[in-house]
Amino acid sequence: MNVTTPPKKLTDKDFASDQEIRWCPGCGDYGVLKALQRTLPEMGIPREKLVFVSGIGCSSRFPYYMNTYGFHTIHGRAPAIATGIKLANRDLDVWVISGDGDGLSIGGNHLLHVLRRNVDLNILLFNNEIYGLTKGQASPTSRPGTRSPSTPGGSIDYPVSAARFALGAGAHFVARSVDTLQPHLMEMFRRAHAHRGTSFVEIFQNCLVYNDGVFAHFTDREVADETQLRVRHGEPLLFGAAQDKGLRLKPGTLELEVVKVGEGGVGKADVMVHDETSPVLAMMLASLTPPAFPVALGVLYCHPGACYEDALAAQAGPKAADGPKANLNALLRRGATWTVQEGGRIADA
């Protein structure tokens, strides 16, 4: 119905809307916005095909800053609304922007179900381990002991791990990155976009007002090399400035351990190779936490399967795909009918 403009060479600026950005100066959200605006031009998607759907939160303001279609919805419901968009038009390229509160607190149920249905969406979850917009209460990802206006004595909940949750829900694609890692973020966006089905990307994002430095123990430049594990399919799970530390299965167990290549008879070949199609390995990687382990970043899991809209379209058959065809009049006349004739005489139909 609508004319599609032939994809022309766009730049990051083309994806920036005219709205003044209302995040706190220095907020990690800026980096993610930038990375996405820089990645989209490569993908060659016409701007009008892009829809950004968000819930409520600082992060959920994202769509306002994108010069694409955008829907800033209500708290926690973006995955459900995005599903509806795809049900109506699967040609759209739909991105869901959510926060740890939006996506994992009030919106946990929709996230679970969109992941299991594998609707073709790209979900970016900005995890700052805090409720930014409502001024700093603990969130479901906040670490135990987090002091906040609602937990003055420290939070006593066990936090939820976004990636473990997504894997448990049956996600087909789970990746992780950090707000400050531009090239890595861009790579994750490319991978997420390339994956047909729900792509779930958790982004560790610094909220400098309410939770400043909460990821510093693995994002600070000085410690990053030793505390970040960049996983890549088919490559050994190595980290450290000298790439001399690795992960392997502790012999006879189902636990990973850190080994030093070249020490204690450990060779590079002993280091486990990343297999992004293994749900078990993905779960293990998602569970690693400092200081004993590095934080795993990258595509932890990618295992494509039929996406919801495709299955729906396949089931409906070619007829349904291009709109209402079947004759409603015939449907209404199916089954037992009878005719009342002029003067009231009855005739079977």
Binding site: E48, F71, I74, R77, T83, L87, H110, A320, R333, T337
Partner: protein
């Protein structure tokens, strides 16, 4: 596959008493096939040209233990040679297939009415299970009625000896035996049912045969037996219905088809998102197989996801529809606010049931009007309309689509458990001749703003993602009237609030003036109803007018906004009586808006009004 069983569909010869209308109630255990029996009788009755109305009365349990009172299923039908408005206040005939069915339904029977009971089930154990202290056939319990005890169980078994079925399977045909008897009583042809059985059991012809044999045996019993209790043949002549092609239709079917028709008339795909709940699920069930009619159904994880995915679908250019019952609608109210704020079309169907809370899921009520009109945070006006009868659901569904798309607004369509399940004859419309709706998507990029509006309706343009050059952002925050950007400006918020209210209020200019269903446009008393009270009010007013009382019937389809002339119309009556199956909800609107001293007639028992209840109240008012 052509059936091996030939029909024996002779015409009845015996002398019959002519009656104008009859109410029959079938009742038995959940496993007795009562609903099937009822719908077969309905079809045969429709085919002889009677007008009719039915009321299935399910148990709350899926399959309660055999013989318990809470496992009783019933089906009531009122049919006649005249216009039938309700399933009938009280049955003329009750067919009870076990003691529990007798126990539960006896006090509905008209005094002096007939009762047929399967004596084969009246064992001491079953009687006790049903809560009878003695044997009602003997202890005078049934004295007010004309009772015919027939050992239907034994008769059925005897009729089926040659089929080699287990006793259990034989007894499953009992309902057909009873149906055969009732067919005989009212001079019905068995052919349609025989055809249906042959179709239904095409793969198991022995079962078809046994059912048909039972049907025939019950029929033959009527023809030959000497029945006590005054059971004899009756004739009910055809009603004078408008010429045309007819079928029977339930409210849920009509609603589902009306939505499909509405979407097609608007040239839209429909995305119907719902989460199962009694009594709304039947609409989902009716739509789920209609993929080729442009319908995508989506069973969401909960009611919130259901309404949100419908909103998402509307945003992307489909007609988003969601459906639930009271508790589920309560969960949707926050999201309905988003559709109001973003001015997207949305149809929300509320199949009302008895509450509060889980309440009585299988029982009917009209108690969500307040929720529909007022039940959202902030000043959040939406259009609210209501269906009065099964066939009316078709038109009202189309009206919901029209308003939602023309005014870019949520429309709440109120129906209820009674309308959803009830059935009546329906003159099938020709969808091709219904007026198309002029729905279009904005494409004019020049001077585009997401708040560009139709100057007449004040509706925002519908702008589809995917349209080049119109990229924009919407959301639930207040937006600037002109630019559509977020705005906290006080004057703008006032302006937008007024706009939202004015847009919905303006619908009053786009709906027909309120008329009277019956009676004079001014007079002593107007009975004002909405929704499924239509039948009983209508018949009560007709009855009272026949005896010369000055009563009129006004029935609202549009609840919000109210029709523009309603205030003037009501002002022409000395008394205004508002019967509702709630504690007084429409009446709040009428009183607050028109400052008239309308009086409520409120029934909150999970049961529809009886005609007599309305008649009695009107009489009392007019005589007071």
């Amino acid at each position: 596959m052509v059936s091996a069983i030939a029909a024996k569909a002779e015409v009845i010869a015996a002398p019959r008493r002519e009656v104008e209308s009859v109410v029959v109630r079938f009742a038995g255990d959940s496993g007795d096939g009562i609903q099937l029996t009822g719908s077969q009788f309905t079809m045969s009755t429709a085919l002889v040209g009677n007008d009719l109305a039915t009321f299935p009365d399910f148990p709350a349990e899926i399959r309660a233990p055999v013989g318990t009172t809470f496992g009783v299923s019933a089906f009531q039908i009122n049919f006649g040679a005249r216009r039938i408005m309700t399933p009938g206040d009280a049955p003329d005939l009750l067919i009870a297939l076990n003691p529990a069915a007798l126990k539960v339904n006896l006090d509905t029977v008209k005094p002096g009415g007939s009762v047929i009971i399967d004596t084969g089930t009246c064992t001491a154990r079953n009687l006790r299970k049903a809560g009878f202290e003695g044997n009602p056939l003997e202890d005078g319990t049934l004295a007010p009625f004309k009772v015919t005890g027939i050992d239907i169980s034994r008769h059925t078994e005897e009729a089926l000896t040659s089929f080699g079925l287990s006793q259990k399977d034989m007894l499953r045909c009992k309902n057909m035996w009873a149906l055969g008897l009732v067919y005989w009583m009212y001079g019905r042809s068995r052919q349609a049912t025989i055809d249906w059985l042959n179709r239904k059991f095409a793969k198991r012809p022995e079962i078809a045969g046994a059912n048909i044999a039972a049907l025939n045996a019950g029929h033959a019993f009527g023809e030959t037996a000497e029945m006590g209790g005054g059971l004899s043949g009756f004739t009910v002549g055809p009603a004078t219905l408008d010429p045309g092609l007819y079928r029977t239709v339930s409210g849920s079917e009509a609603l589902a088809w009306g939505l499909v028709a509405g979407a097609q008339l608007a040239g839209l795909k429909m995305v119907f998102s719902s989460y199962p709940i009694t009594p709304a699920s039947s609409i989902l069930h009716a739509l789920a197989p209609l993929r080729e009619y442009g319908v995508t159904t989506f069973q969401a994880e909960d009611e919130i996801a259901a309404v949100c995915s419908a909103i998402g679908a509307s945003y992307a250019g489909a007609l988003g529809v969601t459906s639930s019952s009271g508790p589920g609608i309560a969960l949707k109210t926050e999201a309905i606010g988003l559709a109001i704020g973003t001015e997207l079309p949305l149809v929300v169907i509320d199949s009302q049931r008895a509450g509060p809370s889980t309440g009585m899921p299988t029982k009917t009520e009209q108690s969500d009007l307040h929720q529909a009109v007022f039940g959202r945070n902030a000043d959040s006006p939406v259009a609210v309309i209501a269906a009065r009868s099964p066939s009316d659901c078709f038109e009202v569904a189309i009206e919901a689509v029209r308003l939602a798309t023309k005014y870019m607004t949520p429309v709440i369509l109120l129906t209820d458990g009674f309308v959803a399940n009830a059935a009546e004859p329906w003159r099938i419309p020709d969808v091709d001749t219904l007026p198309r709706m002029a729905v279009s998507f904005a494409t004019e990029t020049e001077d585009f703003r997401p708040t560009r509006r139709d100057p007449v309706t004040q509706a925002r343009e519908w702008v589809l993602p995917g349209t080049p050059g119109m990229e924009h952002r919407i959301g639930g925050l207040e937006r600037d009237f002109d630019t559509g950007n977020i705005s906290y400006d006080p004057a703008n918020h006032q302006k937008m609030t007024n706009l939202r209210i004015g847009k919905i209020a303006g619908i009053a200019r786009d709906i027909p003036a309120q008329g009277v269903e019956a009676g004079n446009p001014r007079g002593r008393l107007a009975v004002v109803g909405w929704g499924s009270t239509y039948g009983p009010i209508s018949r009560a007013v007709d009855n009272l007018r026949e005896v010369g009382l000055d009563v009129s019937h006004i029935h609202l389809r549009h609840i919000w906004p109210l029709p523009a002339n309603l205030g003037d119309l009501l002002a022409g009556f000395e008394h205004v009586l508002v019967p509702e199956m709630n504690a007084g909800q429409l009446i709040t609107l009428l009183r607050s808006r028109y400052l008239i001293d309308a009086e409520g007639l409120n029934k909150v028992s999970g049961q529809p009004f009886k005609i007599s209840e309305i008649e009695a109240t009107v009489r009392a008012r007019l005589e007071a």
